[in-house]
Amino acid sequence: MIDFIQSLGHKGLEFFQRLGRGHILIFDVLKGLPALFIRPSLIIQQVFSVGVLSLIIIIVSGFFVGMVMGLQGYNTLVDFGAEESLGVMVALSLVRELGPVVTALLFAGRAGSALTAEIGLMKATEQLSAMEMMAVDPVHRVLSPRFLAGFISMPLLAAMFSAVGVLGGFFVGVGLLGVDDGAYWSQMQASVDFYDDIYNGVIKSLVFGFVVTWIAVFEGYDAIPTSEGVSRATTRTVVHSSLAVLGLDFILTALMFN
């Protein structure tokens, strides 16, 4: 019994310790950002591996999500004779919710796990210690550019996801199911507000980009330097960042669209 309570306390303390370490790390990472603008090649390299390599999965899933929305929306709306509102439905749900959230989930799986594995392996093979020996701060040199790249890529990927999704809905709704071409766009433009919907969607994706890359970078840096530790850290990245995205999404939606 005592052992149980003791282990509970230990777990609790460990949790808060990790939380504290995570916040100290993010401040350190943010401190390293200004120095990056002197060497933009570091950022470009990371934007390539974080953003460009995630492009295909984002665009393909965006198109399919848009097509499914078009199909499902049409089947529901046609019962009410309101299939002209298909564009509104597809665009609003993509721009407000699905764009930022699904992109963040895919981003956590595609880019976040890769970041954690890369940094974790650097730690396990003592590359980070070697950098410290050469008086190079590994947080500023390795973590900061990766963090910034994730922060930049995420809103761009979310915007592409939404745009491609709208086109996917257009393809199914107008191309296959015969919704009126003009009604699809004009009703969409009449109902989607730039500041209320698109601007808030971009803010959402920025927040998700921040959180997902933060978790990925931290888990990698904090991984136990063994192969098992790295694999566990990678799993934790995907699980924690998915949960964080979904939880934050609720809070952000409640703040923005009530």
């Binding site: 390539f48 761009l156 730039f194």
Partner: protein
């Protein structure tokens, strides 16, 4: 060489992302209908504006010529003060136009419909000639210009938003009244028979 390709890809990626944002802004949202040219503000008092929102459309003959800029409650008049921004190019609206709140579609959004008046300045001279014909001389006062809506003008003639509950309430009360009358009528008939 590999860094060059990476750089090109990153450039393409950022360009595509910004293009997607631009497409969302211009093609999906209503940003393209924001007018860059500033118009003029006119005001109107309504007893009931329920359903009207800031940025709702202001139309004339069904064409959007402006947007609702601000909605406030006037404490002194105990009614709603609606400020509308009319686009600058529509500067020939007569100043005695009337404003009504309509609903687009059955369950659609509320909007304000303006209907043009004749203009409170009379520029035509109407007279009777000897044979009794009415002569309308539009060229009599060349300097006279019809009075138009300007910055700060107030629309005097307004019609409130239709609230379905009120309408149904009126209908029901009328219905009940009619029934009451019928009952009275039949009662008096019975009295007469007695």
């Amino acid at each position: 060489m590999t860094t060059r390709i990476a750089e090109i890809w990153v450039g393409l990626f950022v360009a595509c992302g910004l293009a997607a944002l631009l497409m969302l802004a211009l093609k999906v949202s209503n940003l393209s209908s924001y007018s860059s040219e500033h118009g003029y503000d006119i005001t109107a008092y309504f007893e009931d504006i329920s359903g009207l929102k800031v940025r709702s459309a202001v139309t004339m003959s069904g064409v959007r010529i402006g947007r609702v800029k601000d909605i406030q409650f006037d404490k002194k008049r105990l009614s709603a003060l609606v400020t509308m921004e009319i686009e600058g190019e529509y500067n020939t609206l007569p100043d005695d136009s009337s404003a009504s709140i309509y609903t687009a579609g059955l369950l659609g959004e509320k909007y304000i419909g303006l209907e043009p008046g004749a203009g409170s300045n009379d520029c035509e001279e109407i007279s009777l000639n000897d044979s009794g014909e009415i002569i309308i001389d539009e060229t009599a006062n060349k300097d006279c210009k019809p009075s138009v809506l300007q910055q700060g003008s107030e629309l005097k003639l307004t019609q409130d938003s239709l609230v379905l509950e009120k309408l149904i309430g009126q209908f029901i009360s009328k219905f009940i009244d009619d029934k009451g009358d019928d009952n009275k009528g039949s009662d008096s008939n019975k009295d007469a028979k007695k």
